[in-house]
């Protein structure tokens, strides 16, 4: 699988956020996007997910342009910006409800992903009682639970304690071995640099590869 970002520019109200970006993301690799807040990382992730359209250029998934076809890309699990769940339901019930949309996974698989993100013990707590880190873990869990081929995580380690962050890093390495495309974005270089195979830095509307 391959995602190609071809000559993509994006501007909002005449303010240029990304200018003529060319990137390729391939299966079996972890990609890191780093850059200060507002450098355009999240905008690119939203364009890949189909939530924003490029002002010019195209984004191809195995040569399919979903945006042109007015569709969201298939097989993508994402957490972009802050997680959003139903406050009155427990963590488990929230995932169960989301899983019911596609009915692709069983209750056991929901429990498995909760164990993998270190949230199993708190799965029966109401979401409104979750800490910031627990909310983030649930957001990561919803992105990964249906075994998507493309995983997109924006600031995945936000508010997560070191032990779980390391567990998540190991989990992402395991996911990479399943021949998935994993794209992580963070404004903290250290979060990404040791995990990613390829790192791109976003600055001044442009992107450069730094390893």
């Amino acid at each position: 699988m391959k995602i190609q970002i071809k000559n993509v520019s994006k501007s909002f109200k005449k303010i240029n956020v990304l200018d003529n970006i060319n990137l390729t993301f391939e299966s079996g690799k972890i990609y890191g996007l780093i850059g200060r807040n507002g450098s355009g990382k999240s905008v690119l992730l939203k364009m890949i997910c189909g939530f924003y359209t490029p002002s010019s250029g195209e984004i191809l998934f195995d040569n399919v342009n979903y945006i042109k076809n007015k569709e969201f890309p298939k097989n993508v699990g994402a957490l972009i910006e802050s997680p959003s769940f139903l406050p009155d339901l427990t963590g488990y019930q929230n995932l169960e409800l989301l899983a019911s949309i596609q009915s692709k996974i069983s209750d056991n698989e929901i429990n498995d992903i909760l164990k993998k993100v270190n949230l199993f013990e708190e799965k029966n707590k109401k979401y409104s009682n979750y800490s910031l880190g627990m909310k983030q873990k649930l957001g990561v869990a919803q992105a990964l639970m249906e075994d998507p081929k493309i995983i997109i995580l924006d600031e995945p380690f936000n508010g997560i304690e070191n032990e779980t962050a390391q567990k998540l890093r190991n989990l992402l390495v395991e996911e990479k071995k399943k021949d998935k495309i994993i794209i992580l974005a963070s404004h903290i270089k250290d979060d990404i640099i040791n995990l990613a195979d390829i790192v791109y830095e976003f600055d001044n509307n442009n992107v450069k590869k730094i390893n």
Partner: protein
């Protein structure tokens, strides 16, 4: 469907319930003012209170109530419609196609609107029962009212979708309502239900088609 409906009900309970209670209090207060002004209590006063008995002969309180009711339903539908577009978009839109989403969303808005109207009608019917006033033809009025309110709500959703391309459209619509209100406010009691249903079906079809083709404009800030 389950996800969208539960999400909307949760939103309604957390963020809209107090506003709905205030709306009901305002309706009952207005109803009592109209009752005192007229010196009697009948169903016309109730219909005027909920803004479905419009005519050019109405007083300014009744006309204001028509506008007030419309604005309440506009606000409710826009809040419910834009909720998923603002937060946690990846939760839902990477799991469901746009057509299925918009159909489920419209059903969810309809269910909440029907529940709201059931509560309002029960509230007022209770007032009529304790005052020993005979209730008649209420079911057909209720149905017409629901169709009218849904038509209004879905119309403002269309305007909202248009306004994402051109911001001034929303402002122009509000101006239109206030300047030419008798073209928007209609007398539901005297309108044949079949016309209301046909208009509603057309609006539903239009929303589904327009959303499918233009959904991406709605995510952009």
């Amino acid at each position: 469907m389950k996800y969208i409906l539960l999400n909307d009900l949760s939103f309604f309970r957390k963020k809209f319930l107090k506003k709905f209670i205030l709306y009901c209090i305002a309706l009952i207060g207005s109803f009592n003012v109209l009752k005192l002004t007229n010196g009697y209590m009948n169903f016309d006063i109730f219909y005027n209170t909920i803004g479905i008995n419009y005519s050019n002969d109405l007083g300014s309180i009744e006309k204001l109530l028509c506008i007030f009711n419309i604005l309440f339903y506009f606000y409710l539908s826009l809040e419910l419609f834009t909720k998923e577009l603002k937060n946690g978009v990846e939760n839902i839109f990477l799991r469901i196609n746009t057509k299925k989403f918009i159909i489920n969303k419209l059903i969810s808005i309809s269910i909440i609107t029907i529940l709201i109207n059931i509560i309002i009608y029960i509230l007022f019917l209770y007032l009529f029962i304790i005052n020993k006033i005979l209730i008649s033809n209420i079911l057909i009025v209720f149905l017409k009212n629901i169709i009218y309110v849904l038509t209004l709500q879905f119309s403002i959703i269309i305007v909202y979708m248009f306004s994402k391309n051109n911001k001034c459209i929303l402002f122009l619509l509000m101006l239109f309502i206030f300047m030419f209100n008798n073209r928007i406010l209609i007398n539901i009691i005297n309108t044949k239900i079949i016309y209301l249903i046909l208009v509603l079906i057309f609006i539903l079809w239009f929303i589904v088609m327009y959303f499918k083709k233009n959904y991406f404009n709605l995510f952009e800030k």
